[in-house]
C-alpha cells in the first residue's frame, strides 16, 4: 500500500489504515468536500489497495468520477445512518 499519509489542504477527512484497506470518514463535511477528499485519497494510491469510505449518504456524484479514473464502488453492510463503500481499481 502506498497512500498519502497526511490529509491534503482541501480534505480535512479522517483517514486510517486497517487490514482491509485505507479508511476515510467523510461524514460531516460540507459538499463537495466528501467528493474531493475521496478522490484526493484514491488518486494518491499507487497499487491495488482498496479504499473504505464511511459516508452519511449515497455519494451519487462520485460514481462517474470514479469510472473516469478506472475505479468502481461496492456497497458494504453498515450501521443505520451510514453508507459504507469499498472503492477498488477496475482490473
Amino acid at each position: 500500500m502506498n497512500a498519502c499519509a497526511a490529509d491534503g489542504p482541501l480534505a480535512p477527512a479522517r483517514r486510517w489504515v486497517e487490514a482491509d484497506g485505507v479508511h476515510i470518514d467523510v461524514r460531516g463535511l460540507q459538499p463537495p468536500g466528501p467528493l474531493v477528499a475521496i478522490l484526493e485519497l484514491v488518486e494518491s494510491i499507487r497499487d491495488a489497495t482498496p479504499v473504505i469510505v464511511h459516508h452519511e449518504r449515497d455519494p451519487q456524484l462520485l460514481y462517474p468520477e470514479l469510472a473516469e479514473i478506472g475505479w468502481r464502488a461496492v456497497r458494504l453492510d453498515a450501521e443505520a445512518g451510514e453508507v459504507r463503500l469499498r472503492l477498488e481499481r477496475v482490473p
Binding site: A11, P31, G33, R72
Partner: protein, 435 residues
C-alpha cells in the same frame, strides 16, 4: 454486498429522477436554442436597434429566456437540488406535467410574438405562468426539505421570490396585449427584465455555481460567510432597482443598484476564482472557458446598464445591454455548464444491467462542441458589431453563425443520448496513477 454504481439508481430512496425527465427539459432547450437563432435570422433589420415590441427579435429573446434558460434551470434544479440537499425526489409526475404544460406554452408565446398574434401570445403566457407557478411550488418543497448547503438554499429562496415578481410582471405585460390593465407598462417592464435576468435566473445560476464549479474543479466549498455577503448585496441591488422602477429617485437608486450589484458580482467572481485556483482539477477545457467569458459578460452588462441610466449618446445601448446580459452572460454560462452536466448526468443513468457506468468523457463528442464554441462566440461578436455599426447584414451573419453553433450543440446532445443507451467500453480515462 452490491455494486453501488448499478444499485443507486433504482433504490427506493433515490435522489435521481428518471433520466427521461431532466433530459426532456435539456433536449427541449437544445431545440429552442436552435429556433431562437432561426427567429433572429427572420428579421435582422430590427436587431441592431431593438428596444422591445412584438416581432421576431422579441420572439428570439423569449425562445432563449423561456425556452433555453428557464427550461434548463427547471430540469437542472429539479435534478440537482435533491442530490445536493440530501432528500429523495418528491414527485416524478409533477416535473413531467410541468414539461407538458410549459413546452407548448413557450412555443405559443414565441409564435404569438413573432407573427404577431396577441391572443396566441396571451394563451401561451397563461400556460407558461401556470407551469412556472407549479415549478415554484416544487422548488419551494425542495428548499423546505433541504439539509446542508445553506448558501445554495438561500440563493434558491431569493430566486424563488424573484420568480414570483417575474410571473406577476409577465402576466401584466402579456395581458396588456389583449386589453387587461395591470401594472404601469414601464414599471412592469423594468421589474420583468431585472427580476427575470438578474433575479430568478441570475440568483439560481450564482447559487448552483457554488455546487457545480467546486465539483468540476474538485475544490473545497467556497467561503460561506463571503457567499452570504455576495447574496445580500445581490438582493439589495434587486430591491434598489425595484424601488427605482416604482418611481422613487429613479436615477440615484438605479446607480446605487448597479454599484451594489457590481459588489455582489465581484465577490462571487473572487470566490469562484479561489475554487478554480485551489481545485485538484486545473484543465477544465472549453466549458469553463465559456463560463469565464460569461462572468466577464455579466460585469459588462452592468457597465451597459450604467450607460442606459446615464443616457449614453448611443441609440443601440439597450440592444447592447440585452445582448451582454442574455446572450453573453446567461446563455453562454448555461451552454458551458450544460455541456459538462449532460454527459455527467447521462453517465449516472447508464448503469442498469451493466457492471460499470459509462464515463462522462466516453459519452462526449468533442468535435461538435469545438464547432459550437467557435460559432457561438463569433455570433455574439458579430451581433455586438452589428449593434455598434447599426448593420442588419452583420446581424444576419451573426444569426446564421449562431444557428450553425446551435446545430452543432444539438449534435453533441443527440450523440450523448444515443451513447448512453448503448452499453460499451469506456475507451478513454482521465489520467490516473499507474498500478
Amino acid at each position: 454486498m452490491r455494486l453501488a454504481a448499478a444499485a443507486f439508481i433504482g433504490g427506493a430512496a433515490s435522489r435521481l429522477l428518471p433520466a427521461s425527465i431532466p433530459f426532456r427539459f435539456f433536449g427541449t432547450a437544445v431545440v429552442y436554442h436552435l429556433l431562437a437563432w432561426i427567429a433572429l435570422c427572420a428579421d435582422p433589420q430590427s436587431v441592431p436597434r431593438f428596444a422591445g415590441g412584438l416581432g421576431w427579435p422579441l420572439a428570439a429573446l423569449h425562445l432563449v429566456t423561456l425556452g433555453v434558460l428557464a427550461m434548463t434551470a427547471i430540469g437542472a434544479s429539479l435534478q440537482l437540488l435533491p442530490v445536493a440537499t440530501r432528500q429523495p425526489v418528491l414527485s416524478r409526475r409533477w416535473p413531467a406535467a410541468i414539461w407538458w404544460l410549459y413546452t407548448p406554452g413557450v412555443a405559443a408565446v414565441a409564435l404569438g410574438m413573432g407573427i404577431p398574434a396577441p391572443r396566441l401570445l396571451a394563451g401561451g403566457a397563461v400556460a407558461v405562468v401556470a407551469a412556472l407557478a407549479a415549478y415554484a411550488l416544487l422548488l419551494a418543497r425542495n428548499l423546505i426539505g433541504a439539509r446542508g448547503m445553506p448558501v445554495v438554499i438561500a440563493h434558491g429562496w431569493a430566486a424563488l421570490a424573484s420568480l414570483i415578481v417575474v410571473l406577476a410582471s409577465a402576466s401584466s405585460l402579456a395581458g396588456a396585449y389583449v386589453g387587461f390593465q395591470g401594472f404601469a407598462r414601464g414599471m412592469a417592464l423594468a421589474w420583468h427584465v431585472t427580476f427575470a435576468a438578474y433575479g430568478f435566473m441570475g440568483l439560481l445560476v450564482l447559487g448552483l455555481s457554488y455546487i457545480l464549479v467546486p465539483m468540476f474543479a474538485l475544490s473545497g466549498a467556497p467561503n460561506e460567510r463571503r457567499a452570504r455577503v455576495s447574496l445580500s448585496l445581490a438582493v439589495a441591488a434587486l430591491l434598489l432597482s425595484a424601488s427605482a422602477a416604482s418611481g422613487v429617485a429613479p436615477e440615484a437608486l438605479r446607480i446605487a443598484a448597479i454599484g451594489t450589484g457590481a459588489g455582489a458580482v465581484a465577490l462571487h467572481w473572487w470566490l469562484m476564482s479561489v475554487a478554480l485556483k485551489t481545485g485538484m482539477r486545473r484543465e477544465l477545457g472549453r466549458s469553463l472557458a465559456l463560463v469565464r467569458i460569461a462572468w466577464f459578460m455579466l460585469s459588462a452588462s452592468l457597465v451597459a446598464a450604467l450607460g442606459i441610466v446615464l443616457a449614453a449618446p448611443f441609440d443601440g445601448i439597450g440592444a447592447l445591454f440585452g445582448l451582454l446580459l442574455i446572450g453573453g452572460w446567461l446563455l453562454t454560462f448555461l451552454l458551458g455548464i450544460l455541456q459538462r452536466i449532460v454527459p455527467f448526468l447521462a453517465s449516472m443513468h447508464t448503469a442498469p444491467g451493466t457492471r460499470q457506468p459509462r464515463t462522462p468523457s466516453s459519452l462526449t463528442a468533442e468535435r461538435p462542441l469545438a464547432i459550437h464554441f467557435s460559432c457561438h462566440l463569433t455570433a455574439l461578436a458579430f451581433l455586438a458589431v452589428a449593434i455598434l455599426a447599426d448593420s442588419p447584414w452583420i446581424a444576419f451573419a451573426g444569426a446564421v453563425l449562431g444557428t450553425a453553433g446551435a446545430l452543432a450543440f444539438g449534435t453533441f446532445f443527440a450523440i450523448v443520448v444515443r451513447r448512453m443507451s448503448i452499453p460499451g467500453v469506456n475507451g478513454k480515462r482521465r489520467e490516473a496513477p499507474a498500478s
